[in-house]
């Protein structure tokens, strides 16, 4: 009897043990086991999105995507590790020791060697005919026009997590819109790994990035790049910039800076080249600034085009003397002639007529001291000194564009207001955004403020036409066209004083003056053939203008 009870006791204990064990595996460990099991009978895949293209105004791709490969090694299948390391490292341009290290780890099934490898290199590796090498397709950013518009486009690099991220230019500014959203696929599969039609299936499609269509005209961009390179060589400049804007919409039609870089190979270039001088560098605008000061004074009616200034000698401000650029004095000048002769004393007269408060108000209205809001990553503000810190000499020098720092885009936008009946437009790169479904989102031109009246804009335009027709650069101007513009030669400040030998030579203007199709800024840093804008930037400006007239089919009058 007792033996029966003991036996029953053992059986019950055994059952209890089994129940406890079952409880452990089914309840406590149940979810982790189900997850592990689901890896065997569920197929999971992340669906990567395609990054959005960036297109010029004619729909041509400035930035697109191409197929590239992840090259990986399968160490267990490699027959001769030494030969593998030597040949593969040579083709992939990797350190041989690094490759050797990656394929020598024990029990490793798979080891990545290099990402974003091009088709040609993949073919070279396949032609080796060696075992233990594999390829997985992945996308890579491609800039078919090479270094053209590099500063506008930006490039794709890796962030700290190794994820593709846009830097600088449009790639940086529109990173969120361009990158899209990954999708996912969960599919129940059979023992052979094939999908089960009536099994569990969940698909969230990837959302491709948006396509950006720019104001940039591919042909004009090409012309500008070619002419700028020629100009820098011809005038022996250290660097240069040309930017063209449509004054009515604020759209950037072209912008080139040199030296530049190729976004396809950005890592081979110095980091200093990545920043776009159009938006990230400042300079003293010099005499080109006179057009804005003059327009402000006209708008305030403190002067008229025929107001007379007697240029009899240098003007003394405190301990300083304001002289003409050639130290020659022309006697009585109208305001139009002040611009034609680019008279610094004449502009001091205009600045004094305007007064410090109104002068400051207008340069703020023209957009200086703040970002323009252009849709490019890396824009600098170039803040103005507080008005309380302005002295008499500051007003005087600012009247002819020295002692004040601006960015090229600020200068271009401000003069565009003169060409656009006094209305300041927000500069813009992107005209339209197209989502993956084909829905188009137009980015309407944005008027920021009315700086001067349309009638004042007409008057200053005529004065600028006169400055071109009668000024120092008249010899370079194409005949039969009305072009409004102004030369500028600004000395470069170096450690608290101006370097007499180094200048920034510039020219800014718009054409055809009566119905402007474009506003253009040409800037050459430290030209060596001549320091003067009238002998370097101005002829380059007119050279490009001739091409644009031909491109737009604008014929000369008479």
């Amino acid at each position: 009897m007792i033996r029966n009870k003991i036996t029953l006791g053992f059986i019950l204990l055994a059952f209890l043990a089994i129940i406890l064990r079952l409880f452990y595996w089914q309840i406590i460990k149940g979810s982790s086991l189900a997850e592990a099991a689901s890896d065997q009978y569920f197929f999971r895949l992340t669906l990567p999105p395609n990054r959005g293209e960036i297109r010029t105004s004619d729909g041509s791709p400035l930035v697109t995507n191409k197929t590239a490969y992840l090259v990986y090694a399968e160490p267990k299948n490699i027959e001769d590790k030494k030969y593998f390391s030597e040949r593969v490292s040579e083709i992939l341009q990797l350190d041989k020791e690094l490759v050797n290290e990656r394929i020598s780890v024990e029990n490793l099934l798979w080891s990545p060697l290099k990402h974003k490898v091009d088709e040609e290199i993949k073919l070279s590796l396949e032609n080796l005919g060696i075992k233990g090498i594999g390829f997985e397709r992945e996308g890579k950013r491609f800039y078919p026009e090479g270094s053209m518009a590099a500063h506008l486009a930006g490039f794709i690099g890796n962030d700290q997590n190794g994820v593709d991220t846009g830097y600088f230019g449009l790639e940086g500014f529109y990173e969120r819109a361009l990158k899209g959203k990954s999708g996912s696929l969960i599919q129940e599969k059979d023992a052979r790994g094939l999908p089960i039609i009536l099994g569990v299936s969940k698909r969230i499609p990837a959302e491709d990035g948006q396509i950006l269509e720019l104001y940039v005209d591919r042909t004009i961009q090409f012309i500008v790049e070619e002419k700028l390179k020629e100009g820098i060589t011809k005038y022996g400049a250290k660097s240069g910039l040309v930017a063209i804007m449509d004054p009515k919409s604020g759209g950037i039609l072209a912008s080139a800076s040199y030296p530049n870089y190729d976004p396809n190979n950005y890592a081979s270039y110095e980091k200093e080249l990545y920043t776009n001088p159009l938006i990230s560098t400042t300079y003293e605008p010099g005499s080109t600034f006179k057009t804005l000061v003059m327009s402000a004074a006209l708008n305030e009616k403190v002067i008229e085009p025929k107001t007379i200034f007697n240029e009899e000698g240098p003007i003394k401000i405190g301990e300083y003397f304001i002289r003409t650029w050639n130290n020659k004095y022309n006697g009585e000048l109208t305001m139009t002639q002040v611009l034609e002769k680019s008279s610094n004393p004449g502009m001091v007269f205009v600045g004094n007529k305007l007064g410090k408060e109104r002068f400051y108000k207008y340069i703020e209205k023209f957009g200086f001291g703040n970002k323009t809001g252009i849709d490019l990553e890396g824009e600098e503000e170039a803040p103005l000194r507080e008005i309380s810190q302005w002295y008499e000499i500051d007003l005087a020098t600012a009247s002819f564009g020295q002692g004040i720092a601006v960015t090229p885009i600020q200068m271009l936008s401000a003069v565009s207001a003169l060409a656009n009946e006094g209305a300041l437009m927000e500069p813009k790169m992107v005209k339209k955004m197209i989502d993956p479904m084909g829905k188009v989102l137009e980015q309407k031109p944005k008027k920021q403020t009315q700086v001067i009246s349309p009638s004042t804009a007409k008057v200053i335009t005529e004065m600028m036409i006169s400055a071109v027709d009668s000024g120092d650069a008249k010899w370079a101007k194409p005949k039969g066209y009305r072009i409004a513009g102004k030369t500028g030669t600004a000395q470069i400040p170096v450690e608290g004083h101006y370097d007499a030998t180094k200048t920034i030579a510039s020219f800014i203007g718009f054409a055809p003056a009566d119905n402007p199709k474009f506003v253009m800024l040409v800037l050459l840093r430290e030209p060596t053939t001549s320091p003067w804008g009238s002998e370097t930037s101005a002829p380059l400006f007119f050279n490009i203008t001739k091409e644009l007239f031909s491109y737009y089919g604008i014929s000369p009058k008479g």
């Binding site: 041509s60 791709p61 078919p144 026009e145 014929s555």
Partner: protein, 105 residues
């Protein structure tokens, strides 16, 4: 007695026929089940193949688009134009003609 036996035999016949019919139906449905399951398995293979084909064609399209983008780059076009003997126009010629009276407005 014989009469009773006959009556008993006759009363079982409809039930036997129904059983046979049900057995036949079950058999047919079983066969259909096997055939359908087999087809599902092969359809899974077709789907996998179709998805592979779609991916390949998408990739091919992407590759072709990239080739078109490279071939139509302005630098490439300029080099090809030079190779074909085209030269740059140096000076456009403009012809001016007086408009007919009817078009002057």
């Amino acid at each position: 007695m014989q009469y009773d036996k006959e009556i008993r035999n006759t009363s079982n016949q409809p039930r036997t026929n129904l059983t046979r019919l049900l057995l036949l139906l079950t058999g047919i449905l079983l066969v259909f089940q096997v055939v359908a399951s087999n087809r599902l398995a092969t359809v899974g293979m077709s789907i996998a193949q179709a998805e592979l084909d779609i991916n390949e064609l998408t990739q091919e399209n992407n590759d072709l688009r990239q080739e078109i983008a490279s071939a139509s780059a302005l630098l490439t076009i300029r080099e090809k134009a030079k190779a074909f003997g085209f030269t740059k126009t140096t000076q456009p010629v403009y012809y001016h003609k007086d408009l007919p009276v009817a078009l002057e407005f």
